[in-house]
Symmetry: D3
C-alpha cells in the first residue's frame, strides 16, 4: 500500500522527524511518502494556526491523494480531518486520533504530554472533537522556551519524562501520549523511564492507516462523511476547487 | 459603536439579507458595515467548506478589524470563531453562538431548523463545540432542492414552519433557532405561525455584540484566548501574516 | 422599553447597587424601575433562602409585570426563574443566567467568583440548572466575614481580584463572572487588575433583556414554558392567585 | 420511630391516598402522621406551583419536625427538598427521590409514568437535580382530562398500564416508577399487568426513611447540607423565621 | 423475610464482620443467613479478583437462593450483580450500590473512603456501572500495609477518619461511604468524628433488601433483567448449569 | 509475532469462523493460534453468560499466554478484558473494543448491528465500559430465531444488511460495526450492499494487536493496569492461581 504523510507544518525538519518515526513502524509492503506544507507556519500551535493548517492540509491532500491508498494528517490537533474525510475517497487518519485510540487499547485514561503551553487549548478541543474526554486524564505541557522545533524532543526529554510522571501520579494516567509532531520518535527513547506504556503517535498512525486499508472500507454514500454535492467555488487552490466541483 | 459584519460566503445576496436583518436590530448609535468573502463558496454547507470559510473569515477580519469595535462572523457554524478570539483585540461573535445563547434565555432546549440536509453534520459539531448539546433538542433540516440561495427563505417558508412544528412536538423544543445566513430575517415573518419563540440569529448577534461592547471586556493576557506569541509564517494572506507576526 | 428590576433580597442597599450598575448599561430608550423584596432575607445565600426568595420574586413579578416589557430577577441563583417564564408573558432574565451566557461569548470556560462560602452550593445548582457545567471552570468564594452586605465589594475588592487570579491560573478560567448582587458594578473597577475579561452580571442582564425585547418573542403556547392551565389556589399572595387562576 | 408525611398539596384526598399507601409499608414500630398543606394549590403540577409548594413544605416542616425522627415531602418533584436538608436536623426524603432510587435497585433504567402532561417539565428538572438522567429511560404522561385528582388512579389505571408498556417497549425501561401523589398505592393494583417491576413511591419513601433512621446519620457541620449560619428575616412564616434565625 | 448474605470473599472473618453489622440493622422479622465463598481470594481487590468473585457469587446464589426472599452480594464492587439480576427471581442488592444509593439521600455528592489503594480502579468502574459518577466526589484510599483483613477497620480507624476529612474538605463530599466488606460496622464507631453523615454499606444493604421485599416487585419478563432464554452449558458449576438450563 | 486468539465461547464452529476472518487480515509475519473455551456456553449472550465467559477467558490466557506476543479475547462484549490487562504482561485486545475503535477512524458515530436481541443489554454495558457512548449511534439487533450459531451470518445476511440500513437512516450511523463472533468475516461479503463503511471486528482486532506489538508498550508498574500484588487463592484454576500468586 502507498501511504501519504501530510505534514501541515512548514518545517522540513519536522517532516524528517515524522518520517523517521513512521518508517520503522510500517509493514514491508507499505510505501510512505512524506510532504511538507508549502505555506503556513513552522509549527502549528494555536487555534489560529490550525485554521490555516487545515486549509493547507486539504490543499496538500487534494493535490496528491490520487496516488495513495491512505493518508495521515501529521499534526496532533488533526487540522482538517473532518473535511478530509468528506472529500477524500481514501482513508485519512489524524495524528492525535491515532495516538489517542491506540492509547485506549492500553489504559482506561491516557495523559497527553507535550512541550509547549501554547498547545493546550487546541489540543483540548481536539480531544473533545473526538469524543474522548472521558478517556483523557488531562493535558500537561512544559512551559519553558526551546531552541529549535526539530530538536525540542532531545532538549526536553528529561523534563517530558518528569511531566509524564506527574500525569501518572497526579492525574491518574494509565498510558502516556507524547503529543505533537516534534515529539515523533521520542517514545522509544524514553520508554523505560516512564512507569506506564508510552504511545508514539506517528507509529500508531501508520499502523492505523494500514488497518484501515486492510479493512477495505467503502467511500460512504450516506452518513456525515458522504461525499458532499459538487459545487462551484472561486479563488480557492485549483486542486481543491477541482475536488469540490468534481471537475 | 462600529460593528463589522463578516459574511464568509461569497454570495452578495446573502450579505444583503444579513444586513437587512441586522440593521433594524441595531441601536441608533451602532453603525454596521457588511462585507462579503472575496473567495470561497457561495454558501458554506459542509465541514470541507468551513475549512476554507474559516481561513477567509480570519483574512477578512485581519484586513478590516482595526476600524471596528466588534465583529460578527455571519455563518451559522461560526467558522474561525476560536481563531478570531485568539487573534483579535475586539469582541467577535458567531452567528450560531448568538442565536443559541439568545435561545437559552427563552427555553430549556432549542430546536435548530434549517433548509438543507447537507448542513446537519457541520451544525452538530458547532453545537458541540459551544458545549450546548444539553440545551439543544435536535437539528431538523429540509431535504428538497431550492432555486436560489438568496430566495430560499421565501420559497421554503411554509415548509420551515411545518418543520419547526415537528421540532416542537416531536423533539420537545421550547424555542426555535432558524439557522443559516439564508434565513436571516425570516423569524419576524413566521413568528405568529410557530407555537414557541423564534430566534433570528442575525438580530441576536447584533445585540450580543452591543452587549459585549457595553461590558467593555479587556483583551485577555491569560486563558485560552490570550494573544498567541508572535511568529513568522510564509505564504499566508498579508493581513493575516502581519497579525500573526505582530508586524 | 420598560424594564423591571426585581431584587428578591430585602436589602435596599443592594437594590441601590444593582440599579447603579444597571443604569449605565441601559440604552437611552430603556427605562428601568428597581424594586426590593417586601419580605424574606437581607441577602439570599442558601437553598433554603432561595425557596422563599423564589416565592417572593414571583409575587413581585405578579404584582408589577403588567407595566413592563421585560424583567430581571436580580439574584445570582435566579430564584423562581423557571416559574416566572411559565407565568409571565414578558421575557424574564436571571442575573446568573445573564452573566454566564455573556461569559460564554468571551471564553471557553468561565470562573465564578463570589464573596461568601455559603453561596457555593446554591450557585452550583444554578450552573447545573442552566446546563452550563461544561462551560464553568469552577466556583471560588472568599471565606472571611464582612461588615455590611452593601459594602462587601469595596471591602473585599483586593481579595476578590486575587481569587480571580487563582480561578484563571488554577482552574483555567478564560473569563470571570463576579457573582452575586452585592458585587454589581465591581467589574468596571477591577477590570484592569484581572488578566481576562470580567463580566458584570447586572450590566449583562440589562443588555440581554434589551436583546429579548428586540427579538420580540411570542409567549409560547407549546413547549415547557407554555402558560400552565388556569387553576384555583388558596392562601397565596393575591397577585399570584390572580395570575394562577387567570382572574 | 415517628415519621412525618408532608403533603405539600392542599387536597385532603391526596393526603388520604398517600397515607393509605404508606401505612402498609411501615414497620410495626413506625408511626406515621400525615399533614396537608394549609395553603397552595390542590395539586402541584408545574414549576410555578412548585415554587409555592416548596415554601409551604418548609413551613410545614418548620412547624412540626421537632416531634419526628424523619420526614417525607410527598410530592413527586420533591419541592423544597434541598432547603429541608439544610435546615432540618432529621432526615428528609423526597417522594420522587425515594421512588427513583428504589427503582435503581431493580433495573438499569427506570421509566417515569404519570397521569398529566403538565407534569413533565417539572419532573424532568427533578430527575436532573438528582443526577439520575442516565438512569431514566424517559417520562411518559397521559394527555387527557380526568374527573377528580383523588380518583385519577382508578379512572386511568388501564391507560397507565398501557403507557407503562410503551415505556418498556419503546424507551427501554427496566422498571416503572408510577409518579405523583395521586398514584400512591396504584402499583400494587397493576403489578401483574406490567412486564417489569413497578415502584410505589410512597411505600419506597417510607422504607427509605426507615433506612435513614437506622443508619443514624449525624446532622452535617460541613458539606453543602451543613446548617446555614443563623440570620434574620422579615415577613416569613413564624416557624420558618425561628428556624432561620435559630431563635 | 429471609435474607441471604453472600460474601464472595473466602475470609470467614469478613463474613463475621458483615453479619455483625447486618444483624442490628435488620427488622425483627428479618432472618439473615451469611455464607462465605468456597473458593476465590481472601479479599477481592482488583478487576482480576472480581472476575472470579463474580463467578463464585453466582454459584453461591444458584445453590442457595431458593430458600430466601432476597439476597445481598456483600463485596463493595458488586461482583456479578447484573448477572444475578438476570438469573434470580428474588431481589439482589449489591453492597456498593446499597451504600451509594443510601448516601444519595443524605448529600449531593458522596465520597468513597477505603483502606487499600489497590481497590480504587475496581471501585471506580463500579461507580460508573451504576451511573453515579455525578454523585461521587471521589474515591480516597489509604496506602499503607495492614496486619489482617479482619482487623483493618480497627487498625486504621484513625487514618480513615482523617481521610474522610480530606474527602470532605478537598473533594466536597457531603456524605462518606465507608467502602469494602472489611469496614462493615465501622461507621457507628467513627460517626461522631466525621463532620458529615457516614454510611455503613452493610446496614444500608439490609434495609434496601427489606425495602425491595416490601415493594414486592415481580420478576421482569421484559427489559434488560428479564430471565434469559434457557440454554445448555458445559463444565460449569452444577447449580449454575441447572439455573441456566432451567433444569 | 505470535498472536493468541481466545474464543471464550465453547463452539468450535465459532473458533473456525473467527480464525477464517483473522488469517487474511494478518501480516505475513503474524502467526495466529485460535483456541476454544473448554467450558461455558456455546455462545455468550447475556451478562450472566459473560460472568463465566470472563473467568474462562482468563483461565485460557493464564494457561497459554507465555508463548505469545499478544492476545485477543474474541467475544464482542470483551469478557475479562480489564482483568486480563491487569494480569498479563502482553497486550490484550477485545473484539468489541477493536471494532469500535476502528470504527472511530471511519465515522463520527458507529452503529452496532447484531443478530440476537438477547445481546443488547450486555453490548450496551460494553460500549459504556469503553467510554464510547458518545461515539455510538445505537445498537440494533434482529429478533428472530436462527438455525445454528455457526451459520447465522449466512442465514441472516439480508436481514442484517437491512438492519444496517436502518441504523444509518434512523440512528445516524456513519459506519457499521457487525458485532459478535458469529458475524466474523461477514463484513467483506456485504460491504457493497451497505451505504457506509462496515467494520469486521476480527480483522480489526488482528491489526490492532499488530499495532500494539509494533508500539512495544511496557507492562505498567503504575496506573490502573499495573500488576496487582501477588496473593494466595483457593479453589481457582491452577494456571490462574499461579498467575495470581506469582508462583
Amino acid at each position: 500500500m502507498r501511504l501519504l504523510l501530510v505534514n501541515p507544518n512548514t518545517s522540513e525538519s519536522l517532516t524528517a522527524l515524522l518520517a523517521a518515526a513512521a518508517f520503522p513502524a510500517a509493514s514491508p509492503t507499505t510505501q510512505i511518502e512524506a510532504i511538507t506544507a508549502p505555506r503556513g507556519v513552522p509549527y502549528i500551535a494555536t487555534r489560529a494556526d490550525a485554521v490555516f493548517g487545515a486549509a493547507v492540509a486539504i490543499e496538500m491532500l487534494a493535490a496528491h491523494h490520487q496516488r495513495f491508498d491512505a493518508a495521515i494528517i501529521a499534526a496532533f490537533g488533526d487540522p482538517g480531518l473532518g473535511a478530509a474525510r468528506e472529500l477524500m475517497s481514501i482513508p485519512v487518519v489524524g495524528l492525535a486520533e491515532a495516538g489517542m485510540l491506540a492509547a485506549c487499547l492500553l489504559g482506561r485514561r491516557f495523559g497527553i504530554v507535550s512541550f509547549a503551553v501554547a498547545l493546550e487549548p487546541w489540543y483540548r478541543e481536539c480531544v473533545a472533537w473526538h469524543g474522548l474526554e472521558g478517556r483523557c486524564s488531562g493535558i500537561r505541557t512544559l512551559d519553558s522556551p526551546f531552541s529549535a522545533i526539530g530538536e525540542v524532543q532531545h532538549e526536553k526529554a528529561d523534563l517530558l519524562v518528569a511531566l509524564a510522571g506527574r500525569a501518572i501520579r497526579e492525574d491518574g494516567a494509565d498510558v502516556i501520549v507524547l503529543a505533537g509532531a516534534p515529539l515523533a520518535g521520542l517514545a522509544a527513547l524514553v520508554r523505560d523511564r516512564i512507569d506506564v506504556p508510552v504511545v508514539d503517535c506517528m507509529a500508531a498512525a501508520v499502523k492505523q492507516a494500514e488497518m484501515l486499508v486492510a479493512l477495505d472500507p467503502r467511500k460512504p454514500v450516506a452518513g456525515t462523511y458522504r461525499r458532499p454535492a459538487y459545487k462551484e467555488s472561486s479563488g480557492l487552490d485549483p486542486s481543491v476547487a477541482a475536488l469540490i466541483s468534481g471537475k
